[in-house]
Structures are given as structure tokens and as C-alpha cells.
Symmetry: C2
Amino acid sequence: MFFTAVCRAKALLHPIRAGKLKSMIKTLEWTAGGVRILDQTKLPTEESYATCRTYQEVAEAIRSMVVRGAPAIGVAAAMGVALGVRDSSARNSQELRREFEQICQTLAATRPTAVNLFWALERMRGKFEALENQPLGDIKQALIEEAQRMHAEDIAANIAMGRHGAALMPARGGVLTHCNAGALATCGYGTALGVIRSAVEQGKKLNVYADETRPFLQGSRLTAWELNKDGIATTVISDSMAGAIMQQGKINAVIVGADRIAANGDVANKIGTYTVAVLAKEHAIPFYVAAPTSTIDLSLKSGVEIPIEERSSSEVAEVSGVRIAPEGVHAAHPAFDVTPARLVTAIITERGVLRPPLQESLAQAVHAEPPVPA
Amino acid sequence: MFFTAVCRAKALLHPIRAGKLKSMIKTLEWTAGGVRILDQTKLPTEESYATCRTYQEVAEAIRSMVVRGAPAIGVAAAMGVALGVRDSSARNSQELRREFEQICQTLAATRPTAVNLFWALERMRGKFEALENQPLGDIKQALIEEAQRMHAEDIAANIAMGRHGAALMPARGGVLTHCNAGALATCGYGTALGVIRSAVEQGKKLNVYADETRPFLQGSRLTAWELNKDGIATTVISDSMAGAIMQQGKINAVIVGADRIAANGDVANKIGTYTVAVLAKEHAIPFYVAAPTSTIDLSLKSGVEIPIEERSSSEVAEVSGVRIAPEGVHAAHPAFDVTPARLVTAIITERGVLRPPLQESLAQAVHAEPPVPA
């Protein structure tokens, strides 16, 4: 049955055409033994995989950023639900329902900002509720398949995003990105980096500038790693260099991912994104956000309502276990910031490129039927 | 004779009133054994001193950033000259002249951006040339005294700057600073941090936000360390957080130091300063630069002419010896950037606060007679 699901997932992916996808990085995958996850805390020096054998282990992997990136978090959570339900010893649907709630609660409590997490849990809940009266074995199998379908759909969405967004990239020039919105932040190919990959596959000559993205260094550790694997020219810069690099005329476009997009187009993304957006405005450089529609949260009027995760100050005060700030000094660690819609040139989704007024184009995109794969 | 010079230096300092200078950090000092330097590469975890016993060792300490900060570099170079000349075995003034040139050349080749280095060497040259026909012992002694005078004058200038600049600080609020323009960047008290110290001594309630300042981390390692010693409330933030913190209304003023100021008011300072200046403009926050007049270079029309040091990419690709970017990926490392005069609200010098048009006020300040100490 496990193999059936994989085959379906492949069938779903196939018609979308995967381009020249050079490095098919396996950020996370469902295996019979559990959820196999590439441990991103160890990159770039070590490429090692951890297999989460319980839903609690999946939750811990999300919390500790072994797996991170809004779309990847969503699918990891869905797989966590599938794993928890599969291994449940519930004897009837009432018991399973209680366990299901417990599993969802545990996974929902891991990270508050990326809405894809809650979107994924809701989708799994929808599936569960539709099947609640079926035999337990069928429910378990359906949830496993649903999680795998989400995995395949995520890659398909990224490839569609790449195709839509590639046209916005310069034929030749510099593109700055912040954090990692790549294969590692998704199930493969990437959102912002998917757009870059697609443009490069089309023959565009891009020099990517990767903000190192303190404190967690997703830019230097992850973005540079995966672009380097694909042979895409990449220069790592300290976050503070972005202004000077733009001032020197080296950047033609900025592209980032998103963790949650409010109904008015305000974008929550990795801390530092807002700074980059202000710099882009100052230099009249287009600022693009690439994200699947599952990142759009129409229930929130504006970015003010997006919950911003505050992470441990030790992640700022220490690097690789070495103390860089004096003991006793406070270090702030908001993990995300909000870029107001007015600084966003366009949002690239799997359903097309959304332009201002974003309030309208976002609502249209969310309510649109997903396009039939070509 | 050594003691005479120290006493003179103290006499020069005394009338300026040193305020409540709590932590009299000895960044560098002249000793009979050589130039004693607080090793800033080891802070904040270790407070250790290195004594440079030759001018070559002083040059190496500057190059490797054991001592850094434009004013401190200038005085360190002056002390390096004094040390080299003192220990010269030249038998006549011609031989000493040749050695003097060699010493200056070695010290000038250490770091290109901070003009205080060249200013200090020129001042030592002026002294040397005025005494060239005197007995060698007198020349040596005069150069030692000159270097010590520059040390004392630097502290006095910082205290004057602090007094002028304190009025610009809010009575209560947040002040953001980038890099370290403190006691550690000078001979004591600091330029930007001198203004903060002076404001706090006057009873102003300031919360300092210290950009950690990648790649060398002068903000988290040095600024937080010295402000913490003085009991001044300090929060370390990643450079990328500056925008979000401003967006939240937590910053009332930005104050930074400078490595070179061109005739038109363009300011070269630690990489990232320009980014902060753009953010300050976006949020209508005043952006102040605190620097002694020795940092002003009227020979350069604009910032375009300021040489920007490119340091090793390994300082970006590694933190505390741990690799954070993949092998084979290029990391850029411009050590400074240029903030255009239009983004500078005022420049605080020991001769007063300079306002736009900076072209005029800078020229006036440079050509003004230094004020007689009160």
C-alpha cells in the first residue's frame, strides 16, 4: 500500500515536467520506518538524515529546526499526523479521534508563524473527518496517502511557481535572496529558489547574492549549499552588506519566500526580510515574494495580526556553540518580521503572479480552482 | 622622561572633566616595554593584553584587528612610530630618516580605509621633520611624547564629542548603534558610545540596541561588553533585525562612528552602516555620526574616492573557526560602506555639531582653531 501511494504521488508530479532539476534534494520523505528528514542543523558541513519514528519526534524536528521552511513544515506536520495515526493502538474511531486531536495539538504547538503548519493540519483533519466512519485501517492508509499527496503537490506547486516567476527575473543580472526558500524549505525545488532555478534552466544568467541570514544562517548554510550543488553562481554576503551591494548596482531583483501572507498582502517572513524590502525600495529594485497559496491566510486582515515567534536569545548570543555576546547581556530574537504590502512588487504563487492591489488578487487566487496540470 | 610625558597627558585631559567615566577601559597604552594593547579578537570571553615590542608587531596588531576603530588605529600607529624610532640603532639623522620612512610605510600598509591612520603618521612626520636637526635622543623623546599627547587628546576629544552630542539624544528612548565606536575603538570613552555615555551621565534613560555587526561581531563582542561594564541597558540584535525594531517604534536615534568622512559629508564606516542609514530615513529617525575632526578628509571630494578595504572572505564564511558556508562558495567581504551625506542628520565632532550643508560645516570645523579647554 505504501508503494501505491508513492506511485500516485509520482503520477501527480509527472505531468508538471520537473525541468532539469539537477539536485533532487530530499528534504523530507515518507518511509515505512517513519519520516526521514535531512538534518538542516548540520548543513553545510554534514549531510545526514534523521528518521522520526513517532509524531513526537516529528514535532521536535520542527521545533528544533531540523526541518524548517513554511512549506516543508506543513508537509512534515502532515506526515507527523499520518505517522501518529498509523501507529495508534486505538480500538475504535472514538479513541482514534482523541488521539488524532492530541497529535494535532502537539504538532500545532511547535512553531506559531508559518501558517502552512495549521493549513496542513486542517487538511489532514478534513480527510480524517470525511472518513471517520470507515474501518480504522482505511483511515490510516488514507492519511498516509494524503500526506504523500501534499508532498507531491508541494513540489508541483514549486515548479509551477518557478515557471510563473522566471519571466520576472532579469535575462542577466544579480538577484538577492534572504534566508532559504529553496528545496530545503519545501519538499523540493523551492519557492524563491525554484523561481531562480527555473530562470537559470531557461538560460538566464543570474548571479545570486545570498544573505547569510543571522542568526540561524539559513542563507550561508543552506541556500549557498543547494545552489552550489546546482552549479548556480552564488555569493554569500553578511546581511549588513545588502545595502552596499544594491548601492553598487549589483542587484536587479530581490526574491524571498514567506511564512504567512495576510489578506492585505503584508508578508511575514524570516527576520531581516523587511530590512531587505526597505533597501529594495530605496534602490527601486523589484521585491518579489514566492509562496504557495497555502501560505495565504485570508483570516488575518493585516500583518499586525500575524503571531511572530520569539526564539531563544542564545541563538543570537552564540554561534556554533561559541559565545559571542557577553554573559548577562540580553539578545533579542524575533524570528520573523512583517513586510508591508506597499513594499511588495508581486507575489508569485502556483496559480500565477499576483500584482497589487494584493487584497484583491490574493482573494482571487485563494478562491480560484487549482489549475488542471497541463 | 616617560613619566613626564604621562603627566603632561594627564594635565591635558584634566580640564576637560572626565565625567563619571565608570569603566576606564585601557584600549591601548604606551609602556616602557612597548605598546600594550587589549586584544579585541578575544573579547568578550577573555580580557587579555598583548604588548607589542616592535613597530612590526604594532602593524600586525592593526592588520589583524587586535586593535581596531579609526581613532585607536591612528594612535596605535603613532605609538608604533615612536616605538620604532626609539629602538632604532641609527647613528645619525640621515639613517634615522631612512628608518622613519620604513616604519611609516609598514604602518601605512596595514589598513586602507580609516584616514586617522594616515593623519597620525602625517602628524608624527611633522614632528619628526621639525626636529630633524636635533640630537637623536631628543627626537626619540619628542616622538614618544607626541604619541602620548595624541592618546590624551583623543580621550579629550571624545569627552567633548560626548558633551556636544548628548543634547541630541532623547531624554528617554532607544538608540541604535552599529559596530563599536566606543572606548575600544578609541583611547577611551568612545565617539558614538561617548555620546551615549555622556547622555546617560546627564540622567537620560537610554536603551541601546547594538547591531551585532557581522562579520567581525564588534557589536555583540565589544559594544555590548563595554556598555554592560558601565551598566548601560543594552540589547544585542542581529543586523537584520534593525528594520523590524525601528518598525516597532523602539528607536529614537541612530548613532555611529566613522572611518573617513569626505569633503561633501559622505561617511565611510563599518559595512552595514549604509543599510542602517537607509532604514533610519525610512522611519524618519535621526542618523548621527560621531567622529573627531581627524576623521575628516577634505582631500576627497566625495565618498566614491574613499578606498574600501576588502578583507578575507573566510571572515564571512567562518565564525569562531567554524565553517558556516559550503567549501567552494564565494563570500564577499567589503569591510566598509559609504553612507551618502543626504542620509546624515548631523556629524558630532569635538569642535561641535556639524549640520548640513556638510560641505561647508566640515570645512569650517577642520580649519577652525581647536577650542581652548574650558
